[in-house]
Every structure is written in structure tokens, then in C-alpha cells.
Amino acid sequence: MVVLCGSLLAQQENVSSQGRSYVEFEPLNTVVVRPGVITPVQFTFHVKRGYHINSNKPTTPELIPTTLGFTPPPDLVIAKVQYPAGQLTSFPFDPTQKLSVYSGDVVVKAVIIPQRAAPTGTYTVHGEFKYQACDNNACYPPKKLPVQFDLKVSKGTRKSTRPRPNRQSPNIH
């Protein structure tokens, strides 16, 4: 038993950044959509304290931008992915240069467009949040964080937006 605990302890010591994640995804409640109705959605990521990731538009071309992409089911489109503006920040390793980064909470917005023919039902949508993290002294290899959420296509109550003609009782004069 002592040997087992010792070996578990040793394994903890050897965890490298290759298995480490610097960003967490905040799980989403099931998103309910109706065919033909554009539905806004937002995805929240938490960058771990002490680290930062490049924004979607880093200041130099060599830097790896943060991106979010999805592989939605057929008849469903996820579009207009909108990233927050990066914070222009300088770091101790080069106080003269400002980098466009995200730290803390990162909220990425998008819209879901179910086609009119989208069948009803619940789907799991898979995606990937790609980022590259650094701290004040070192940078860590680029990572791909799997993202998924449940999406329910519902017929819902049909609400017509066309003006209805006034209906009068034939008995009213």
C-alpha cells in the first residue's frame, strides 16, 4: 500500500506541460433552437491564473492566434464567430513590446443557424478551441481543447409575424 501511494506521488511529480491544460471550457446548458431561426450563443473559457494566451489577432504574424471552430451536424451552421478584443499587455521579459492577449475569462460569441429542413432532436456539437499559452518567462506548446455542447432542435410554437386581417362577427353592424 505504501509502495502504491509512493508511486502515485512520483507520477504527480512527473506531470509535464504536454498533459497540462492552461484553459478550461465552461460547460453550456443545452441550447434550444428552432429551424430557420438564428440563435445567438456564447462560449466562455477560463485562462488559468498566471498564464495568458494570444488573442485572435496577435501583434506579429509568428504568434499563434486563438481560434474556435466547430463541426456541426448537417442542416446546422455555426457562424459569425466573434472574438473579444485582446488586451494590449507588456510582460517582464520585454517591457518595450505590447502583445495582444487574453487572460482570465474569454467569451466567444457566435450564432447558430438551423436550416428550415433541420430535423428535430438533440445533437452533440463538437469543436476545438486552439490556443497557445505563456507565462512571464516561458511559452508552452500550442494546444487544442475539445469543446462540445448539446443542441436541441425544436419545432416550438409557430408565431406568424404577418398581420392578420380583422375578423368581425357577421352579427356586428
Binding site: 500500500m1 504568434l63 520585454d94 507565462d135 518567462n137 511559452c139 500550442p142
Partner: protein, 186 residues
Amino acid sequence: MSVVVVVITGLLFLGKSFTPRPPGVAQASNNEDQFNGKPAPDFELPQLGAKGKTLKLSELKGKAVVVNFWATWCEPCKIEMPWLVDLQKKYSGEGLQIIGIAMDDTDDQTISEFAHKMGVNYPVLKGSEKVADLYGGIDGLPTLFFVDRSGKIVEHELGLRSLSVIEANIKKSLGSSESARAAATQ
């Protein structure tokens, strides 16, 4: 008694699990004990901008070698690079050879052009996961391994260190004139 042992070991395990390693502080790698004093793992990698040439670490025996793992997307690496260029100039006469190992996924030409723009005056090799694994799996960049003339790792740094620390490690790898003579006669 055995219950007491299990509880104590469990508490030690939990303590280690929840002790965060502070970010933002340059530190020696987890593999410091694994490598210092041991022979630097040999490797052969393609040399960028050298038309099919490769470079093998063991061919540099007799020289003090600095193995620098870096990438074009690593901002601290760009701070360190000009220092390495100056140190290569300063100590090449004493037998220093710096080699850069680029851990980029991007194409060779982009890496070569970047290194040229930075004024790099030492060989730049295209890195691989295999070589990174030989060196304990490169946790972060920049990572420097300082290798003495006999091929042993004398120091290892993960993250950006100051110029003075890097220079001190280079002097350590160059060693005394006695060890230099001993290495030269091997």
C-alpha cells in the same frame, strides 16, 4: 499501524497534488535530476538553410555545447536569441558551440528567414518530438541544456533566464583549462 502509514502517505500525496507550481518564475525543469551530470542524449537533425545537411551532437564532442530549444511563436525566445548570438561570438574561440533546435510546425523557409532576421550565427536545426522526448519532453520554451566538452549535461534551464545566468552556465560548460586539455586528448 498500517492504517497510520497509509494515512500519512495519503496526506503527503494530497499535499503534493495541491501545491501549485508558481507560473511566471523561470525554473529548472522537473528533469533536472534526470539529466545533470549525465551524457547529453545524442541526436542527428536536419540543419535549416544548409541544403540537406544534418548535424549530429556527438560530432561536437570536445566543444562546450548549448542546446537551445526554441520556436518562432515564443516571445521570450526572441529576447534570449540576441544574447546567444553575442555569447557565440564571445566564446567561440574558447570552444563554445550553440545549436538552436526549432520546435515549430511551420515550414523550414519561414524558420530560416526568421533566424536570419534575428542575426543567428549558429546552426539552426529542425526539431522533432523524438528529440524532445530524448530530453525529457520539452515542457516549455526556451529550454537550454549546457553540455561540457566531455558530452555531459552540466546545467539545464526552462524558461527565460538572465544573460548573466546563461553566461555563467556557459562558463561552467567550458570548464577549467585542465578539463579542456583532458577533453582535447580524448
